[in-house]
Amino acid sequence: MSNLVVETTGREVPVAKAGEWVDAENGWIDRRIFWQDDIYALELERIFARCWIFVAHDSQLPEIGDFLTSTIGQDAVIVSRGEDGKIHTFLNSCSHRGNRVCFAEVGKARRFTCNFHGWSYGLDGSLKSVSRPQSYDGNANFDKAQLGLHPARVESYKGMHFACFDPAAPSLEEYLGDFRWYLDVILDNDEGGIEFIDGNIKSRLKCNWKFPAENFVGDSYHAPWTHSSALIAMFGKQPTMRPERSYHANVNGHGWEFGLDFIGNAATLNSPQIIEYLREQEAKFAERLGKVRSRMVGALSSANVFPNLSFLAGHNTFRTWNPKGPSETELHTWVFLNANAPQELKDEYRRGVMLTFSPAGIFEMDDGENFENCTSVNAGVVTRRQKLHAGMGLDSQIDHDELKGNVYQSQINEANQRAFYLRWADLMGAETWADVPVR
């Protein structure tokens, strides 16, 4: 691993300005962070090349040789189950001329072989063989041990595998911090944990990746307005959000906005079977998680693990926002359910997410339009000089006996969005992880 180099060190960029871009204390965001090429280039280095990025759930790669391809920032990676049974993540780019070595998005393989000159790599990314190896006989600088596909660190939390290209980054455990306590609401409300349903819906939005990420980290404010048409179509009315029984909570820029209504999100899946399952399990959830967290299992809520892994409890969908440029994002959507849940619920969740939170879903189709227009208007130079207001709930922080992390009263709030952008500014302004404060 000694050949890993973090490119951010010493790069000449306006890092001193990171603090100006985000004024978390007063709730102002500089619009240039959604538009400028140099800021975006720095994000790829200082956010995506050194944070823990979600790459796969254990259930997606059950057997040795199972693989999928993904991206960390704009770096294409292969995620595979090695001969050692472990999940490996490495660049999908041959060490010889850089060609892709895997062209399928998912599958099963024994080797990843380059189409160009036949260099062939194992499931752990190590170079196994090349075509016409005799051509390298006596060649001192041809050392197969040094020519593997560049690896990322891989660590996991309760079946969720994350990869990180920065050897100096803290462990995943430290990176997630007390947010693990919240993640347990979905990852560990049942002894069997969760499993992902087969398939991954992918789509492109012409928006900056931060707009959807901040939307999931804390924006319940938009739901009754943006999604009015879908809510009326399904229920004939708006949902009830109770300020006194709902919260924003964040840790290290990861955040969850939630009510304690137990089934608010799940109710939009149009499935009585899902509601029945949740009701039947409620006492078990409470036994495992305690009363407060058990009320979050299917509640009106949304969340984001910094930087780009969003999810909805109740809807049971995970998604990642993969940057493809300052104004383009590729959305990957998955559906999960408890591994021990009745298998007939698989179709209920799968079809319910399609109906609501997929590109053709009646909720999500309104979101993309907003994210795209929030981005494209910044082509205007005067427009992007105008700061964005993110000041709701500035004085809403509370002490709570049970809830961990930084806690704020009312889910109609922008505390988590400010925490998300503060973490972003921390990383953008920091030369190394040592300069990034725990939040």
Binding site: F103, A104, E105, V106, G107, K108, A109, I197, D198, G199, N200, I201, K202, S203, R204, L205, K206, C207, T226, S228, S229, A230, I232, A233, M234, N270, E330, T333, W334, V335, K346, D347, R350, R351, V353, M354, L355, S358, P359, A360, I362, E364, M365, D366, G368, E369, N370, F371, E372
Partner: protein
């Protein structure tokens, strides 16, 4: 029946030209209703037991599993109830993202009609091009291959009983699908 009234298809007995024309007109009319957001009239073209399926397509190696399959994630895997919920949303005045309306364009081509074992049902292959424009310069295009089951209803009208839409894109190059394909 005169030979000229019939059209040959590769692996199926001939289908009368009149029927071919009727099914073509049925698909063209459907496309025009979708272009005009006349969703209630569109729903009337569907059989009560409609299965409307737009599976996610994956780039997989030839030796591997199918590029799409039942039970895998999809954009639509709908019965009539689900389709009606989608239509109900599209019709709400508070569907802000639909005002000004999307300018829809559904082009249907390569129509091929095949007989099935049921004399009142035909398998219909076609290609669909859905082009959408919004506001000044927002343009989205989806191309797909369709396999339909078209049924002669008891009242004599044609109904769409099954539709499978196989997208060309594995990564949808659009922010949403606010139409039917």
């Amino acid at each position: 029946m005169n030979q000229s009234d019939q059209i040959a298809s590769c692996d199926n007995p001939a289908v009368p030209i009149v029927l071919l024309l009727e099914i073509q007109q049925f698909l063209y009319r459907e496309a025009r209703l979708l272009d005009g957001e006349q969703y209630d009239e569109w729903l009337e073209l569907l059989a009560d037991d409609i299965h409307y399926w737009v599976p996610g397509v994956q780039a997989r190696y030839r030796k591997d599993d199918a590029k799409f399959s039942v039970g895998r994630m999809a954009f639509f895997d709908d019965n009539l109830e689900y389709l009606k919920i989608r239509v109900a949303r599209a019709k709400q005045p508070s569907a802000w993202a639909e005002d000004p309306p999307t300018r829809h364009f559904h082009l249907v081509g390569n129509i091929e009609v095949e007989k099935t074992e049921n004399p009142a049902e035909w398998t219909v292959h076609s290609l669909i091009l859905s082009n959408r424009h919004r506001t000044e310069d927002d343009e989205m295009e989806i191309k797909a291959r369709r396999v339909d089951l078209v049924r002669r209803d008891q009242d004599g009208s044609l109904k769409l009983a099954r539709r499978k839409v196989i997208l060309q894109q594995t990564v949808l190059q659009s922010k949403n699908i606010n139409t039917f394909l």
